[in-house]
């Protein structure tokens, strides 16, 4: 893996093909489109649904600790299992799942570089059978909320200018021309972005085949917008999954020390009474 700060958090499709039946490795697919897994998945992979299994379905929150322990245990994942996650849209919700596993202290969790798209494009074997696994006992730690930004922290960061804010949505969501990705329901009352945020769409971190760009390219991309790790970074999007992708890139591929995912994101900020909103494009950093 090309010069990444933490290459141990990323594996190739070849690696997955070689390790899919390794008893110490559990492959998990997490998609935006929760029907994708049923169409066919990496043989032996478990499927987790982001909207029912990776969140609190009663109140808006990430998965509670006890439920995460139950999910991992029933997936045959023990504390020392190597978990490799992949999914559609270049690993959007795979990164969201990895972020949650890190919050709850799982040591060895990795992404499959290129995600579901690369596996399919390479003409690899897929299966429609869900694997039968022996349940394991899982004990989570945390939650480590240093990886997660809540609203008051974002408000304080805005006021104090203490953090670099990175908006990873599409340019038109950033400017306020549209309120959600094209074709999806509008889920906010106001369009635009948090004042002072830099627009660096998540997809710019990826190559056409879905793999991550090299560390040098990533450094140029974020550094060109003034995001160089010299101050803490808060990433946000609409509901927190695209920003998990950028969080992963900044933390594990570029090795920034302090990166936080604001999962409340625009569905919180853009609905908040009295929250300051900026519309339109902003000048390039350092311009």
């Amino acid at each position: 893996m090309p010069n990444y700060a933490h290459p141990e958090t990323l594996v190739s499709t070849d690696w997955v093909a070689q390790h899919a039946s390794d008893p110490n490795v559990r492959i998990v697919e997490v998609d935006v489109d929760t029907k994708a897994y049923d169409e066919g998945h990496v043989p032996g992979a478990m499927g987790w649904a982001w909207n029912s299994q990776l969140c609190d379905t009663l109140r808006r929150d990430i998965l509670p600790k006890a439920q995460l322990e139950q999910l991992l245990g029933s997936s045959g994942i023990a504390n020392d299992t190597t978990v490799v996650i992949y999914g559609d849209n270049n690993n959007w919700f795979a990164a969201w799942a990895l972020w949650q596993l890190k919050i709850y202290g799982h040591k060895d969790v990795r992404l499959m570089n290129g995600g579901r798209k690369k596996w399919l494009a390479e003409g690899r074997e897929i299966s429609t059978e869900a694997p039968k696994v022996a349940a394991a006992t899982y004990r989570a730690t945390g939650p480590d909320n240093s990886l997660r930004a809540f609203l008051p922290q974002v408000q304080a960061a805005l006021e104090g200018g203490t953090h670099a804010l990175v908006d990873v949505r599409s340019p038109q969501e950033f400017t306020g021309e549209i309120l959600a990705p094209p074709g999806l329901p509008e889920t906010c009352q106001r369009g635009g972005h948090i004042p002072g945020a830099r627009s660096i769409p998540w997809g710019k971190a990826c190559n056409d085949d879905g793999t991550f760009k090299s560390a040098d390219e990533l450094q140029a991309l974020y550094g060109g917008e003034g995001v160089d790790g010299s101050k803490p970074v808060i990433a946000y999007c609409r509901i927190g999954e695209r920003s998990s992708h950028t969080w992963y890139v900044l933390k594990y591929l570029l090795g920034f020390d302090k990166v936080i995912n604001y999962d409340g994101s625009w569905t919180e900020w853009g609905n908040l009474v009295g929250a300051p909103v900026e519309k339109g494009a902003v000048a390039k950093a350092n311009a």
């Binding site: 003409g123 599409s170 021309e177 549209i178 369009g191 997809g203």
Partner: protein, 73 residues
């Protein structure tokens, strides 16, 4: 079962760029349409030919994308 004949192409639907990924699993063609920049999935369809699967995906994508309102900023 192996993924065969994987292809991607970009097109425009209701004024929005759309990415179509299609492939064959056995005798069935599968197609997924997503909007390009954010990459959100719009439609997942099947057909007995690639053209049929793609057309179904384009039709569904068109219905969804037509609802997207663009505002002046």
């Amino acid at each position: 079962m192996k993924v065969e004949e994987y292809q991607e192409r970009k097109t425009e639907v209701a004024g929005w760029p759309v990415n179509l990924a299609s492939y064959r699993l056995g005798s069935v063609y599968h197609c997924k349409a997503d909007n390009v920049s954010p990459g959100a999935a719009l439609a997942r369809t099947t057909g007995s030919t690639r053209e049929e699967a793609e057309q179904k995906a384009l039709d569904r994508a068109g219905q969804l994308l037509a609802r997207t309102q663009v505002r002046a900023v």
